[in-house]
């Protein structure tokens, strides 16, 4: 039998459907929603697998992940600074950028009474404005087939034998500058002596790669033999079959870290604290270490780490007393000028 529907009947049906839709709203409102600004690729995948799915979803917190690199996230926070409600509830950035955001008044001072595991955070990466997520050491990656003996100093990158086979990475200009500074009388709070040193390297011949991935590919193909990178990437690439070994510099081993902060105009701060607490659980910290090869940022995470995994990431005995802190205040003060120098002088 054909169904006939009058215009009035159609309108009434539409209203009824809309009302039914409204009726379902209270149920969906029980689920909280938060937005995390983080990196894409593996980082996003492991955050979903280790934090979002196993810990937050059972608590009724739906996490929307907005993936981008550090700089666009900072830009968005600044563009939205006057808005009462911003895009992000939690932002994931490098330590120096988190410091800058905090200095610019964009991040909340954390209420540590809401973070039970705050006391377990390693003192070297503990701040009042961000929760560390991963800590990793700076390393020299080299191809043992071409670089011999194994490098023991940042100065080994200046060996004329490796001219044109040394790789630096464009976004990591601060890593290049500070390493050059450490080997020429500078420090983690004074990169200036590194500039003249880097110009010597430029004269010898150096490749500047646009990304970590491009550098990894160059190591893989033999286009590049030696360069600077964080230890966790080195371990990952080595396990993926890139022909490299990992060495550390006698001048000191800077510790880079990444973490989470809560923007002042976050919409859902309760969910943001839930996320931060989930990231500090032993399960998330050790899971991350196993997936991304960077040591946990909490003492409880370190204690629970699989000994085999721990051995893979631990620094050789000789370098354990040579750990250096990155100075975020110095980077915040000099970053603009250093980037200008890198673009206009070094890369010219």
């Amino acid at each position: 039998m054909p169904i006939t529907l009058s215009r009035r009947g159609f309108t009434a049906g539409g209203i009824a459907l809309a009302a039914a839709g409204f009726g379902t709203r209270p149920a969906s409102a029980q689920q909280q929603r938060m937005v995390l600004g983080t990196y894409g690729g593996d980082t996003q995948r492991y955050i979903e697998d280790l934090i979002v799915k196993p810990i937050l979803e059972p608590k009724g917190i739906a996490t929307v992940i907005e993936a981008a690199s550090d700089a666009p996230r900072r830009l968005k926070l600044q563009a939205e600074r006057r808005l009462p409600r911003g895009t992000y509830d939690v932002v994931h950035n490098q330590a120096a950028i988190l410091y800058q955001l905090y200095q610019d008044g964009l991040l909340d001072e954390l209420d540590v009474s809401r973070i039970p595991a705050y006391d377990k955070i390693l003192p070297v990466v503990k701040t009042g404005y961000a929760i560390p997520h991963t800590v990793t050491a700076r390393a020299i990656l080299y191809n043992p087939a071409h670089v011999s003996p194994a490098p023991s100093s940042y100065d080994d990158l200046w060996n004329p034998k490796y001219a044109n086979k040394v790789g630096l990475i464009n976004p990591h200009y601060n890593m290049a500058l500070s390493s050059a500074a450490l080997t020429s009388g500078g420090s983690m709070s004074n990169y200036e002596p590194g500039k003249a040193k880097l110009l010597e390297l430029k004269k010898l011949g150096v490749q500047v790669y646009p990304s970590n991935e491009a550098f990894g590919q160059a190591l893989q193909t033999g286009e590049c033999w030696i360069g600077l990178m964080i230890q966790s990437r080195g371990i990952m690439w080595k396990r993926q079959g890139v022909p490299i070994e990992i060495a550390y510099a006698k001048e000191g081993v800077p510790m880079d870290w990444w973490g989470f902060g809560i923007p002042k105009n976050a919409r859902n701060k309760d969910a943001a604290y839930e996320f931060i607490n989930a990231s500090l659980t032993v399960q998330a910290q050790t899971g991350w270490a196993a997936a991304m090869w960077s040591p946990p940022a909490t003492s409880t995470g370190l204690d629970a780490l699989d000994p085999q995994l721990s051995r893979l990431m631990e620094l050789p005995e000789a370098f354990r007393g040579k750990l250096l802190d990155v100075d975020p205040a110095y980077i915040a003060k000099t970053d603009g000028a250093n980037k200008e120098w890198w673009d206009r002088v070094f890369k010219a």
């Binding site: 700089a71 666009p72 900072r74 830009l75 600044q78 464009n170 500047v208 790669y209 646009p210 590919q217 193909t221 286009e223 603009g336 980037k339 200008e340 673009d343 206009r344 890369k347």
Partner: protein, 287 residues
């Protein structure tokens, strides 16, 4: 209501929504961007300082930015010339083809447009790398190498010309389709060589289409972003990536805004100048 008024109101009604959207999503953001460009040091200055053209003066007087602008203009001209070199024969072939596979050929030209610029650039990265397809073939054939192409201006030239090629081919092909083959045949029957026919008959008839294709390619190249970033590497500089770098990486919005307006002005000026020069050339009697 008079008929004239009614027609006017209908036209206003039809144009109104598009005009409102343009104002809202183009003119308002451009006005804000212009305000940022007049606020030197923004966002660090927080817009507290006086509005001035000092940012423009500084950028124009800075050889670093002038070099980037010059590279951009030269690259846009080079990319347009290279794309035209390949587009002309393809468009001629498509326009004159009687093959039953003509629609397949046309689809082959359009297909790259289904894939984003960035994805195509990644394809070129693989093809032009030191161990890529090109170097493997060249080295295998005994022509030396491997040659450094990736992260150079040459790679950008190739990649961007490939991006612009479909637009040029489609524009030229649609113009050539409208030129009757009988006109060319008449020229040949009167004793002209094929090249003379092309130069004295086909070229003047397709000149406006040529102009449109070149303008499109030039504007696209002046504003290119993904291709220069991915294929040019860290040392190669064009305006699009430089604007992004100033705003996103260096956090220097005012300089980024100044560069954006300079790029808009230069692109508009050069497009108008090129159009005028070419139109004059078209209008001049062929000898």
């Amino acid at each position: 209501m008079s008929r004239k008024l009614r027609t006017g109101l209908t036209a206003a009604g039809l144009l109104g929504p598009a005009l409102a959207l343009t104002c809202l999503f183009l003119l308002v953001p451009l006005t804000i961007l212009f305000w940022v460009s007049l606020n030197e040091g923004y966002p660090a200055s927080d817009g507290a300082g006086p509005l001035s053209l000092a940012g423009y003066v500084k950028v124009i007087a800075d050889p670093y930015y002038l070099d980037i602008l010059l590279t951009t203009i030269l690259m846009a001209l080079g990319i347009t010339a290279l794309a035209l070199f390949f587009a002309l024969p393809i468009a001629h072939f498509l326009a004159r083809s009687q093959s039953r596979f003509k629609s397949v050929f046309l689809l082959a030209v359009i297909l790259p447009l289904f894939v984003g610029n960035a994805v195509r650039a990644i394809g070129w990265m693989i093809a032009l790398g030191e161990r890529g397809v090109f170097n493997t073939i060249v080295t295998g054939l005994g022509f030396g190498g491997p040659y450094k192409i990736i992260y150079t201006g040459t790679a950008v030239l190739i990649g961007a010309a490939a991006v612009n090629l479909p637009y040029m081919v489609l524009t030229l092909q649609s113009v050539l389709e409208r030129i009757s083959p009988a006109v060319e045949e008449a020229s040949i029957s009167l004793g002209a060589t094929p090249f003379q026919t092309w130069r004295l008959v086909t070229l003047p008839l397709m000149a406006l289409g040529l102009l449109a294709a070149c303008t499109l390619s030039f504007i696209l190249s002046m504003n290119a972003y993904a291709t220069p970033v991915l294929l040019g590497g860290p040392r190669f500089r064009m305006m699009g990536p430089a604007i992004s770098d100033e705003i996103i990486v260096k956090n220097n919005w005012s300089v980024g805004a100044v560069l954006a307006f300079i790029l808009i002005l230069v692109t508009l000026t050069l497009t108008i100048a090129l159009n005028k020069a070419l139109t004059r050339g078209i209008a001049a009697p062929a000898r």
